[in-house]
Assembly symmetry: C2
Homo-oligomer: 628 residues x 2
C-alpha cells in the first residue's frame, strides 16, 4: 500500500527533460493586450515600438524670442541686427516653436528698442530648441520582449503614443487538494483532521511568480472523483498541481489521474524532501503531483514548478541571493537523495555568515517561516562538519541578514514580545530567534552563531543563576551577562488539579504522566536538580523521556490531557488556563557577545527590555518580575 | 512669473523633519482584517498568535501498533511481552493516537502470534508519536507586527487556527495632474500638448510600494479648481501628490493650494532634479508637490515620498543594492545642489563595475528606462574624474548586471532587434545598449565600459571601413573586429522630394535646411568625408550644427518638416516613409573585447546576428545585406 515510485530521477536531469518535453508540446507564454496604465510590473509579450516621437513637436527650451536663425546672421557685438516685431515671437520654455522659426534667443540676450529688438550675436539654427524625438523617436524599440515593465517604462510608452501593450497573460494554475482526512481551515479540527493549508501556500507562491492560482474544492480519495477533477482542471487551466495526501498508507490515485488525463514523465525524484513528485503533462499543459507535507510541497514547487512557470511567463524568477556560509554544527545527509535543508543564517562579528540547520521535518511549516535560506546538499554528500563552508540560497534579502540580531537560546515568550515592540518602533529591525535551551545558547555564542543567548542556568552548589556557567564556558571572556527578568517556574498541572498533585515529588506517582523538557534546557537542568534534591529515582517518572522544546508545548501536552504535569513558567500555564504550583523564582538573563554589545541592534533590544511597554506586556503574560 | 522657492533645504534634514512632523500629527499605518488566504505579501499590522496547536492531536509517526507504553515494560530480547488484541491497535502514519495509548511500536518490531503480538523490547512513553504542537503551539507568536507575510507563513497561520489576519491597509494616495497644456495620453497630440503620463508612472511606483493610487482628472491652471480638487483629494485619500506643470513661466498654484488646505513645511529642496518639491500636510495627511518633469518627479517620489510611505505601511522599502563603481568619464555637478545622476552600469572583464552617466535632461523619461542605477552626488562635490570610485544605488538586481552584455556605440535598429530575439530565446539575457556613435564605441571599449561596440568608420584614404581605426586605437590588440552587416547610407528627404534634391551637394542650397549627426558618429564622419569629397564649404550648410543622436531622430526631423535633408540609413527613411537617395553601402561591424569574446553572452549575440530570424527582420527593416 506504500507509494510505489516508478523513477528515482536526478533533479536536474528531470527538470531539463521535463521543460524540453513541455516546449516540444508547444509550451510558451500567452499574450493579452491591456491598457498601458495597468501594465506596471507585467512582462512584455512582444517588443514595444514608439508610435510617435516624444516630444512630438519642437519646443522652446528657454524663455526668449523665437525667430528664423537666418535673420540674425551677421550680428556681432559691434554690429547688432535689428529685428522688427514681425521677425520674432516671444516664447516661454515649453512653448511650441511658431511656424517659420528655428531658433530661440534667450531673453537675457535680447535688447529692446521700442517695438524692435537688437541682437548682438548671430543665432545658430535650432539653438535652444528641444527637438522632436529628444526622448524617443517613432519606430524606436522602447522595450524588447519578455521584459518587466517598470513604472518609468509606462511613461516612455505613453510618451511614445503607445496606449495599449501586449503582455504575458498570467497562466492559470489549478490546484487540487486531495485526501480523506483533509479539511478546510478551521479553528476546531477533530483529531485526525488535517487542515488543508497547502493550497493557500501554493497560491501565494504562484501569485508571487506571476501566475493566477485557481483552487479546486478538496477531493476525497475516490479514484473517479480525482480523475474527473483532474480532467476539469486540465480543461480550465494552463497547468495543474495535484496535492497528494501526506499519508503513505493509501492508494495512490494521483499518478493514476496524471496517466489517465495525460502523460507521466517521472514519478519519484531523488530529492529530500519531495521524493514523491510526479512530473506529467497533457499536451502543453504541465501537471505536477506534489507531496502532501507542506515543506516537501514548497521544495517541489521551487525546484520543479518555478522553471516551468518561467517558461510560461517569460519572467526571470531565479533572483535569489546566494552566499557562502560557515556551518556551525555537524549536519548529516542521506547519500540516496539530494537534500534541501532549511537554515537560519546569522552574521558574526567578523562579518561571516553562519548557517544553523532548522527542524528538518517535512511537516513543520514554521521551519519555512523561520528559515533564512536553503542549503542544497548534493546526492553524493554525506553531510558537513562544523566549520565547513556551504552555499546558501537566501530566502530573504542579503542586506537584511547583516542587520539581523540573532538570538539563540532558552525559550520565553518575552523574546517574541520584545521583537514585536522593536518592530513597532522600527519596522526595519530584524530579529531571528531560535529556541534551543540555555546550554544551546552558550554553545551558539561560542560558535559565533548568535549575538545573543537567553539563559537560566541554576548552579546546584551555590543556588545562583548563570554566572558560574558563564565563567566556566567563557574563561577568556568575550561575553557580557545582562540582567533579564525574574520569572516563576513551577509545576503546570491540569485545570482544577484532578489528580491532587501537591508537590514536585508527586511526579513519581504511578498515576501521573510527566512531560519533560529537552536536555540542555535550563528547565531540564532545574528538573534534574529537583529530582536530586528530592532524592527521586528518575526511572520512576513516567514520561521522563518525553521531551518538548518550549514551555508552551509542555503546557499544550497537559492541556490536551496526554500528560498530568510538567515543569514550566507561569505565563505558559496561564496561556493554557492550567493550574500551577510555583517552585522557584529564577533569573532569566541575556548573554551577549562582547563585540556586538554596543551595536545599535543589541542596544535597541536592551532598551525595549527595560521599557515600560515591555513591563506592561509582561504583566499581561504573568509571573515576571523586572529588575528595574 | 518664475517659481519662487521659499526654502532651499538640505534633503536629509527636510525628510527627517517632514517625517517627524507627520508622526507628530499621528501618521501611522492603518489596519484592516482580511482572510488569511488573501494575505500573501501583505504586512502584518499586529503580532499574530496561534489559536490552536499544530498538529492539534497526537498522531502516529510510523506504521505499527499503538499501545500504552507501560504494558511493554520489562520486555527484553529474551523475555518478550505478549499483548492480547485488546492491548493494542494497528495504526498508520498520521493516524490519531487512539485513546489510552501513548506510544507506537514500528510494524517491523511486531511479532505476530495468532491474534496476539510479541514484543522483544520495551517501548518508551510517546515514542514514534508526532506530538501536539510540534509545529506551533497555541499562544505562540507566529509573526510579529510589520512583517511581510510570506506564503509559508499563510500555512503556519492556518495550521495555528488563524483564519483572519490584521494587515496594514494600503494607504490611498491621490494624484492630481495640473496644467493647461496637459492632455490625456493619445496618439495624435497637437503641438504644445504635453501628454500626461506622470500619473501613470507615479501610480506604478506607489503600487510597488504597497499604496493604492487614485488619479484625479487633469486640472487646468485655475486657482479655484486646483484648491477645490486638493480639498477633495485630502478628504478622500490618505496622502496627496500634486503634480505641477513643468513650465516655469506660470503662476504657482500648487504651493497656494497646499498652504490653503494644510500647512507647507518646505518649498524648494536643494536637489537636482527635483528642486521645486513642496512638502506639506493637512493633519496626518502628507501633501507632496512634485515637479512636472518626469525624471524630477520620480526622484522626488523616491527621495521624499518613499520614506513617508514606509511610515504609512510599516514596510521596509529601501532594499536596493548599492555597489561601488568606477566612473568611465568626467562628470561635473553643480555645487548648489545634491544631484541624482542616472547611470548605466557595465561590468568589465576584471569584474569591476563601470558607471556611465546617461542623459541628464529632467524631461527624458527613457533615461530612467535605460538606467541601471543612480549616483548620489553630494552638494559640496563638483563632480568626478574618470577612474573615480562612486557609490551607485542599483535600480536592477545586482546579479543581473553581472550577466549583462553592454553595447555602446553606433546606432542601428538591428541592435534592438537582436536584443529582442535574444530575449525571446532566453528571457534571462540582458543587453544594455547606448547610442553614442562609432568613436564613442572605441572610447567605451578602451575604458572598459562595454564588452561590445558597433562601428562604421570610413577610412578616407583607403575607402575601407573600420580596420584602420581599430589598428590605430588598439595598437596592443585586446579587441576582435567581427563582421556585422552592410547597410545603405544615403540622404533622407521628404516624401515626394518637394525640393527636388538630386545629390549630396544640394544640401548647400539656400532653400535647404540640413540636419546633422553628432560629432564622433560614423555618419557624421561620412558627412564630413562627403563634404570634403564634394569640395563643399560646411558653413554654407544651413543646419550643419543641428545635431541628432540617432538615424530615427534625423528622420523624425525631416518627417516633421523642420529639416529638408539628413544623412542616415535606409531603414530609418523607410520607417518614416521618407524618400531616400542612396550614397554608399557601408560596413557596420562589431568591436568586441577580446577577453569577453568567448563568453556565453557575446557568443549568443553573434549567433543571433548570423541567424535566419535576424535576416528576416532585417529584410523587413530594409537596406541591409548580411555577410553569410
Amino acid at each position: 500500500m506504500k507509494y510505489e515510485y516508478l523513477t528515482n530521477e536526478d533533479l536536474d536531469i528531470a527538470v531539463e527533460s521535463y521543460i524540453a518535453a513541455l516546449k516540444g508540446e508547444g509550451l510558451a507564454p500567452k499574450a493579452e493586450t491591456i491598457p498601458v496604465f495597468e501594465a506596471a510590473g507585467r512582462i512584455t509579450a512582444n517588443a514595444v515600438y514608439a508610435h510617435i516621437c516624444a516630444p512630438h513637436y519642437n519646443a522652446s527650451a528657454m524663455d526668449g524670442i523665437a525667430l528664423l536663425a537666418a535673420v540674425t546672421f551677421g550680428a556681432t557685438e559691434t554690429t547688432p541686427v535689428r529685428l522688427a516685431p514681425t521677425d520674432f515671437i516671444q516664447v516661454d520654455t515649453g512653448d511650441p516653436m511658431p511656424d517659420g522659426t528655428d531658433a530661440v534667443v534667450m531673453i537675457e540676450d535680447v535688447v529692446r528698442d521700442g517695438d524692435d529688438v537688437l541682437l548682438y550675436g548671430a543665432a545658430t539654427p535650432w539653438q535652444h530648441v528641444r527637438q522632436v524625438g529628444e526622448d524617443v523617436c517613432a519606430g524606436d524599440m522602447i522595450l524588447p520582449s519578455y521584459t518587466r515593465i517598470a513604472p518609468a517604462a509606462l511613461g516612455a510608452m505613453l510618451a511614445g503614443g503607445v496606449l495599449e501593450v501586449e503582455v504575458v497573460k498570467p497562466p492559470v494554475v489549478g490546484i487540487i487538494p486531495t485526501g480523506d482526512e483533509i479539511v478546510a481551515p478551521c479553528t476546531d479540527p477533530k483529531p485526525g483532521d488535517i487542515i488543508e493549508f497547502n493550497s493557500t501556500i501554493f497560491s501565494g507562491i504562484l501569485a508571487e511568480w506571476g501566475a493566477t492560482p485557481k483552487v479546486y474544492p478538496i477531493v476525497k480519495d475516490i479514484k473517479e472523483d480525482i480523475i474527473n477533477t483532474m480532467k476539469q482542471a486540465v480543461d480550465e487551466c494552463d497547468a495543474v498541481i495535484i496535492n497528494a495526501g501526506s499519508s503513505a498508507g493509501r492508494d495512490d490515485y494521483s499518478s493514476l489521474a496524471v496517466s489517465t488525463v495525460g502523460k507521466m514523465l517521472y514519478h519519484g525524484i531523488a530529492i529530500k524532501p519531495g521524493k514523491p513528485a510526479i512530473l506529467g503533462y497533457a499536451g502543453a499543459k504541465p501537471i505536477l503531483g506534489v507531496p502532501g507535507y507542506p515543506v516537501s510541497g514548497i521544495i517541489v514547487l521551487e525546484q520543479i514548478m518555478k522553471p516551468v512557470i518561467e517558461v510560461m511567463t517569460g519572467a526571470n524568477l531565479h533572483r535569489q541571493d546566494e552566499i557562502e556560509a560557515t556551518l556551525g554544527r555537524v549536519m548529516t545527509s542521506p547519500l540516496k537523495y539530494r537534500e534541501f535543508v532549511r537554515v537560519r543564517v546569522g552574521i558574526n562579528e567578523k562579518g561571516e555568515f553562519i548557517a544553523t540547520p532548522l527542524n528538518r521535518g517535512a511537516g513543520v511549516v514554521t521551519s519555512f517561516v523561520k528559515a533564512d535560506g536553503i542549503i542544497d546538499v548534493p546526492q553524493d554528500c554525506e553531510g558537513y562538519e562544523p566549520g565547513d563552508k556551504v552555499k546558501v540560497t537566501l530566502l530573504r534579502p542579503k542586506e537584511e541578514l547583516a542587520n539581523t540580531l540573532t538570538i539563540i537560546g532558552s525559550h520565553d515568550p518575552l523574546i517574541d514580545e520584545i521583537i514585536d515592540v522593536l518592530k513597532r518602533d522600527n519596522p526595519d529591525s530584524v530579529v531571528s530567534s531560535s529556541h534551543v535551551g540555555s546550554m544551546g545558547a552558550i554553545m551558539a555564542l561560542k560558535r559565533g552563531e548568535a549575538q545573543m543567548g537567553a539563559i537560566h542556568l541554576l548552579d546546584e552548589e551555590t543556588g545562583e543563576y548563570n554566572t558560574s556557567y558563564v565563567n566556566k564556558h567563557f574563561k577568556d571572556g568575550g561575553v557580557v551577562l545582562e540582567k533579564g527578568v525574574k520569572r516563576i517556574q513551577g509545576l503546570m498541572i491540569a485545570k482544577g488539579n484532578p489528580k491532587g498533585i501537591k508537590e514536585f515529588s508527586d511526579i513519581t506517582r504511578d498515576d501521573i504522566s510527566y512531560v519533560n523538557r529537552q536536555k540542555g534546557s535550563g528547565t531540564r537542568i532545574l528538573c534534574d536538580f529537583l529530582i536530586k534534591q528530592n532524592n527521586i529515582d528518575a526511572s520512576k517518572i513516567y514520561g521522563y523521556e518525553r521531551e518538548e522544546f518550549t514551555h508552551t508545548s509542555v503546557a499544550a501536552q497537559i492541556a490536551s490531557g496526554t500528560a498530568d504535569a510538567g515543569l514550566g513558567i507561569y505565563s505558559a500555564a496561564k496561556t493554557y488556563d492550567l493550574d500551577f504550583i510555583p517552585i522557584c523564582n529564577e533569573e532569566y538573563d541575556l548573554l551577549i557577545n562582547e563585540e556586538a554589545y554596543n551595536t545599535e541592534k543589541i542596544q535597541a533590544f536592551l532598551k525595549v527590555l527595560k521599557s515600560d511597554e515591555l513591563k506592561e506586556r509582561l504583566e499581561r503574560l504573568g509571573g515576571y518580575e523586572t529588575w528595574n
